[in-house]
């Protein structure tokens, strides 16, 4: 009933028009009704129009047969974005009880060339297969991500698999591997946060915080110009600003980066945020900023927050207006460090 695996391309090359196939001779195709005055009619290829006209015929008569099933495959290959076809295919699967593993394989082949439209269908099949499908689905998304490590749909599907079917055991390791390949991969950082905060095997954010802070600081020191770990570091202290400003490692990494006098924009903005939330910087911070010798006019502000803003206006000129605005919003402090 179902054709051989992977023959979709072969089908395309050898396609016999449906009107010439004896098994379809009893069916009257239903053309698309674009109304009397189509405004922007699409120039469909003849094989596309024909396939969809036959699809409409079996869809409207709700014929859930093996020839309909084969037809949905052809229609999907021509346009995987047609959710009505996918939906009817699911209805046929329910009626005929076709093989679900074969179905995953089919979706996998479609997904390779069309990385977006498979998701709901795949999810539906996986749910029917239950927790037994976990490894296969994690493998599938891993394959998609090996082609494009930032594929949004693959990540979103992977997150669904973990939450619906489980399989958290190796996820932190997987993030570690991806970050090892590309420390700038923001999707991998996001997934790390997902695992650390939601995995039932890890104990939650607060339990994981210490080791995560250490890992993140290493990443920052390796590439201080990388936005992702800076955001991640802040995220580790989400809803707990008090702990954030009191963790000496945070201000310490800012100071370390400042002392290198290169790639220090995020170090400066993080320090600014710390100060705005109540952090009281010691003298060495002022010294580090003085030492930057930015092409700025005159002596540095006595208020460290203002001084930082002025440096940022200079060294992050794209966001000059923002730093001016931040400066204007700083609380007026009389005391200076």
């Amino acid at each position: 009933m179902e054709s051989d695996e992977g023959d979709e391309q072969q089908q395309e090359a050898e396609r016999l028009p449906l009107s010439q196939r004896p098994e379809w001779s009893d069916v009257t195709p239903i053309p698309q009704d674009d109304g009397p005055n189509p405004v922007v009619p699409i120039a469909y290829k003849p094989e596309f129009s024909e396939t969809m006209s036959y699809f409409r015929a079996v869809y409207y008569s709700d014929e859930r047969s093996s020839r309909s099933f084969q037809l949905t495959k052809e229609a999907i290959c021509l346009n995987p974005g047609n959710y009505t076809v996918w939906h009817f295919r699911r209805q046929i699967i329910e009626t005929l009880h076709t093989d679900l593993q074969d179905e995953l394989a089919f979706v996998g082949r479609i997904a390779k060339s069309n990385s977006k439209n498979y998701q709901h269908h795949r999810r539906w099949v996986a749910e029917k297969l239950g927790t037994g499908a976990v490894n296969k689905e994690l493998q599938f998304t891993k394959k998609m991500l090996s082609l494009d490590a930032k594929n949004y749909h693959a990540w979103s599907y992977r997150q669904w698999v973990l939450q619906a079917l489980g399989g958290w055991e190796d996820e932190l390791d997987y993030c570690q591997i991806l970050l090892g390949e590309d420390i700038f991969n923001n999707s991998a950082w996001n997934q790390r946060y997902f695992v650390v905060t939601r995995s039932p095997l890890l104990g939650g954010l607060i339990a994981m915080r210490d080791s995560e802070v250490n890992f993140t600081i290493e990443a920052i020191l390796g590439n201080p110009e990388n936005e992702s770990p800076w955001r991640y570091l802040r995220g580790l202290y989400k809803d707990d600003t008090e702990s954030w400003i009191n963790d000496p490692r945070i201000s310490s990494v800012c100071l370390k980066v400042l002392s290198t006098k290169s790639n220090y924009v995020f170090a400066l903005s993080t320090l600014l945020d710390l100060i705005c939330h109540g952090f009281r910087p010691s003298e060495e911070f002022r010294e580090a900023i003085n030492a930057l010798n930015t092409p700025d006019s005159g002596p540095l502000d006595s208020d460290l927050g203002r001084a930082i803003c002025r440096v940022l206006e200079c060294v992050d000129p794209l966001r000059c207006n923002y730093w001016l605005w931040r400066k204007s919003k700083l609380p007026l402090t009389v005391s200076s460090q």
Binding site: Y59, Y60, Y83, H87, Q119, H120, W124, K150, Y152, W155, S156, Q159, Q163, F184, N185, N186, S187, N190, Y193, F194, R198, N226, E227, S228, R231, Y232, R234, G235, K238, S269, P317, L318, R319, C320, N321, Y322, W325
Partner: protein
């Protein structure tokens, strides 16, 4: 049900009708709104169609825009929708398309525009001194502004290349919050012009051939930049102010 409605198609249809000045009194709002209520999920999100599909912020936006255009909020539970949106704010301040997913320009637009349309974010909120906001505003602002890359264009996610359309998605968020003047407009303009095709229209990246999608968002981005000759934009609806107001 062989020709069930689709939330995204409904939104597009109504937006087009609005843009061409169609009289909305002729539209069967009641059916649309009833049908829509059945698409909202328990967690506040929306599916686009009744027989099952993805559910994410895009469809929450479609729902909010439809209610706004029809001037009738019976089509959705705004509080639940708000709760879902808030769950989509990532640890870095931007919004993902679903809770837990990576913050993304399109997701952030859908989140903020929906909250604006539903009335949960006031006008020019950044210029107000209220420190309380249902979303982490300072973090969102920082995230949005960091999306402007060295080439002047906007990226959709951290550490990804700039793309014409994010000048609208992210630019609109900044406009809606009252922070559009914080970007580097000249740098953005420069980037966008390199994405303009010699044949007209805009592509995704400098030198790309043009497509309708990037052309549309290229123009809306220039509208936000107040380019002479272009009409002012209603950021929440992605159409001109004139269209939105029914002029």
């Amino acid at each position: 049900m062989h020709n069930g409605s689709n939330l995204a198609s409904t939104y597009c249809a109504l937006a087009i009708l609005k843009a061409v000045g169609y009289n909305f009194a002729n539209i069967d709002s009641k059916s649309i709104l009833t049908s829509m209520r059945n698409l909202q999920q328990h967690d506040g999100s929306f599916m686009p169609i009744h027989f099952g599909a993805e559910k994410d912020l895009r469809f929450v936006y479609c729902a909010a825009a439809i209610c706004f255009l029809l001037e009738d909020w019976s089509g959705m539970d705004r509080e639940r929708a708000k709760a879902y949106i808030l769950n989509c704010q990532s640890y870095d301040g931007g919004f993902g398309l679903t809770p837990g997913s990576e913050s993304h320009g399109g997701g952030t637009y859908c989140a903020v525009a929906s909250l604006r349309l539903m009335g949960f974010i006031e006008d020019n909120v950044l210029s107000k001194n209220t420190s309380s906001s249902i979303i982490d505003l300072p973090l969102l602002l920082s995230w949005c502004l960091q999306r402007q890359a060295a080439d002047g264009g906007f990226q959709g996610r951290a550490n990804k290349p700039s793309d014409t359309c994010y000048a609208f998605w992210i630019g609109s968020v900044l406009r809606m919050l009252g922070g559009y003047n914080l970007i580097d407009k000249e740098a953005l303009r420069g980037f966008l012009l390199t994405c303009q095709s010699q044949y007209g229209g805009f592509g995704k990246c400098p030198g790309d051939l043009p497509d309708l999608y990037h052309s549309f968002y290229g123009y809306t981005a220039f509208s936000l930049l107040e380019e002479p000759g272009l009409n002012p934009l209603c950021a929440e609806l992605g159409m001109t102010e004139f269209s939105a107001l029914g002029i």
